[in-house]
């Protein structure tokens, strides 16, 4: 448990730094386990309040239960929910059959870009973790993005101790990653420790499958698993050697490096 409190202390510190330094701050919430833990940590950091909007980039292809869960928590926790969507791309019929990377770029990366432009956010908090995928392993806690949302991973700013990059030129923004040091198991251990409400899509409900990672319905596949409680998930994860995002189609090949360089989460 001590290791979870250490992770929590660090994430809370980062969230408070973000809140102190960015006037126009938002937090991405995809309703998945990671960004929901992040939301919970914000309530920890700000003593039950969430003093910035929660942003959801809606691709329209999300699993319906996720939207119900989103609206319920937004009501119960009195969240300021902002939903963004790339309506133009959807009107033109964008979907995953046109190519997964193309679809993710249009509906997620560009969907986010549109939302950022519209609202002028200068700081965006995201729940990405270093252990998910190898380009995320190289992220900073405070990671600058240029005017085109591009990530210059060849020249990242130094990050010394707890001194983060909190000032930036006009027309650029900073991505803030409070969960970088958390592993998938830590997320579930923390959900258990704090009793955080999560989507039951993560649990097996009798048919021998569950989701390990949640995304758009067409590109996210359940895994074979009989884990029906958080304890069983933790147990299962401790024994597995299969990558968490194995069920996420856009990760194939160099998909994530290409996507993330251009501003994917």
């Amino acid at each position: 448990m001590r290791h979870l409190r250490q992770l929590e202390d660090q994430s809370v510190y980062i969230l408070r730094e973000a809140y102190k330094h960015f006037d126009n701050l938002g937090m991405l919430w995809s309703m998945g386990k990671d960004s929901t833990v992040l939301l919970w940590l914000a309530r920890k950091a700000f003593f039950g309040h969430v003093p910035f909007p929660l942003l959801h980039v809606d691709t329209s292809y999300k699993i319906p239960a996720m939207i119900e869960y989103r609206d319920r928590l937004a009501r119960e926790w009195r969240l300021n929910l902002v939903v963004g969507q790339n309506k133009k791309a959807l009107a033109e019929g964008m979907n995953h059959e046109r190519g997964r990377v193309e679809c993710c770029t249009a509906l997620k990366t560009n969907g986010l870009k549109i939302l950022l432009e519209e609202k002028g956010y200068t700081g965006i908090i995201l729940g990405v973790r270093a252990d998910e995928e190898s380009t995320r392993a190289k992220e900073r806690y405070f990671s600058p993005r240029d005017k085109n949302n591009d990530w210059d991973f060849r020249d990242q700013p130094p990050e010394l101790w707890d001194q983060f990059k909190t000032s930036f030129p006009p027309n650029t923004h900073i991505r803030i990653h409070p969960l970088l040091d958390w592993t998938e198991i830590n997320i579930w251990e923390y959900i258990k420790l704090e009793n955080i409400p999560f989507m039951d899509l993560y649990l097996d409900k009798g048919n021998g499958t569950r989701y390990r990672s949640l995304g758009c319905a067409p590109c996210t596949f359940p895994i074979k698993s009989t884990a029906s409680t958080v304890d069983e998930i933790i147990e299962e994860l401790r024994a597995t050697n299969v990558a968490e995002r194995a069920g996420r189609a856009q990760d194939e090949g160099r998909g994530m490096e290409v996507l993330r360089k251009d501003g994917y989460m």
């Binding site: 920890k44 003593f47 392993a137 990242q156 130094p158 050697n241 990558a243």
Partner: protein, 619 residues
Amino acid sequence: MDTCKAETAATVDIRDRMNIVIVGSVDHGKSTLLGRLYADTGTLPEGKVEKIQAICKQQGKEFEYAFLFDAFLEEQQQGVTIDTARTFFQWAGRQYIIIDAPGHKEFLKNMISGAARAEAALLLIDALEGVKDQSKRHGLLLSMLGVKQVTVVVNKMDLVDYSQETFALIEKEYRAFLSQLDVTPQFVIPASAKRGDNIATPSPQMAWHTGPTVLESLAQFSSESEQAEQPLRFPLQDVYKFDARRILTGRIASGRLKVGDQVIFSPSNKSAVVQTLEAFNIEPPPTQAQAGQSVGITLDEQIFVERGEIVSHESSLPLVSTTFRANLFWLGRRPLDMDKSYLVRLATHEVECRVAAIHRIVDADNLSLDQHQTNTVVKRNEVADVTIQTKAPLAFDLYSDFETTGRFVLVDDYDVSGGGIITEMVADREETLRIEARQRDFAWVTGDVTLADRAKHYGHRAALVLLIGPDTTGKTFLAKKVESTLVAEGRHVYMLDPENLRRGLDADLQEGDAREMIRRYGEVARLLIDTGVLLISTTNSFRLPADQTVEAIRTLVHPAPVLTVYMSQETTPSPIEADLSFTGPEDFTSTAHAVLTALKEKGIIAETIGNQPVFQFSI
């Protein structure tokens, strides 16, 4: 990297966690060591090795363990790590984040970012190449970054036929180097990452090595922090007022904090008692906290304190000065320049600064050599011994006493461009007055009415407006004008002319006792400010250079705001950086209004009577 777990660790509960960095010169095999460690402990995801092997085959190159973690296409193509990767590893009940830092000189800032997150380090030296410049530079930086636990791995032993003699020579040379930095390596391990010798299993080729393998050595790093046993240092991060509670937040850097503790805020010298520790979803609420924890506290009285202050107990206060000496490493694109101003960030305090002196550039190769140098710049990737002077007093510690409050970064424009550790406090001119002010403030007896109450009632904060400049430039005239204008608005303002002290309070002093006159004036001003009044004053009587006068007064009335106004006949530049400057004004009404506007902008007086003043910090 991908999520995975060592089978051997599957059933073991995690007891603690630790960040470890792998450093060393380029091509000494850091990424290979990391890949090997994961492969030999069964910690890689299913099919990962096979996948990389297939890519290598396709590209016609030999498989290397390094490819497992060099994620970027460019890194794989060039066979060099560009940026630090966090990789996750669990062994014997401890969760590790192993940080693979680039060894190439060009990516030193990335190496430093990686090492700054670590509690312990594996430092690699190539057995064939021996100790390189970069091996020493990394050793030096580790000690500056606060990584005190170091294990040295002499890698590529297969290339020197596992020679014990070669190993012994490298060990001797590097131990001697580290001892100059006061670092004793926990172990020095001969290994071959490529062949797997002494990585996860003992090497039959090197039976002469009686120490641990690299894997075994990890468990020997201690994750127990001694910081909780040190005196309290709690840098204030922010003040929240989301509901009825006014919560002061921050992360405890060292020591312990309890409900009921009398605490001091530095450099403002305010004090209060901790009333509660606030927490979300923790029942019952905690009554104490210690180093490492991000906490929120409420106080027994509503004092004005802001981000940047360091909370401590009175028995062990941080140092306060405008000047300190430090060892600094510079990472900026532009060299560190004595003619430029920078922001220093120490814990949560941010203040403008300049480099007052560059004593020497530290040569990693020749640490002890105290050569005479005259440098005016510090170039990228250089380490230097410097004196830094801040614009306002800063609370800090020596790095040898406290880690978090003994180190700082310098910000150039938008970028963190350097970091350093404080080696010495330099007493500035105001040291004596500052000590006097601190002692006096700690013992200050107050009534039930706080400064905040008075500010609310009067519609302005207590503050001091100082008029400076040559004689006969209309300072007294302006002072009278400002006083009468504000009093007419219903504010509580008083013109304190130093002349009025000369024949009374200062009657025992001679003309030459200028410093003592200022001290007495400062103490009188301090008393009046405590009544909530806005003071306005000229400074000619002191007959000292303006900068000395202003600094001495500022120190004594600290932390009350001081607004400086420079008046001159012709356009001579102000001897200090004044908040406002006027040249030979004729229209004193508009000049007085300019002063009023500045007071409003600074949040000293509220827009209209009855409104609460707009303070520049959250209340």
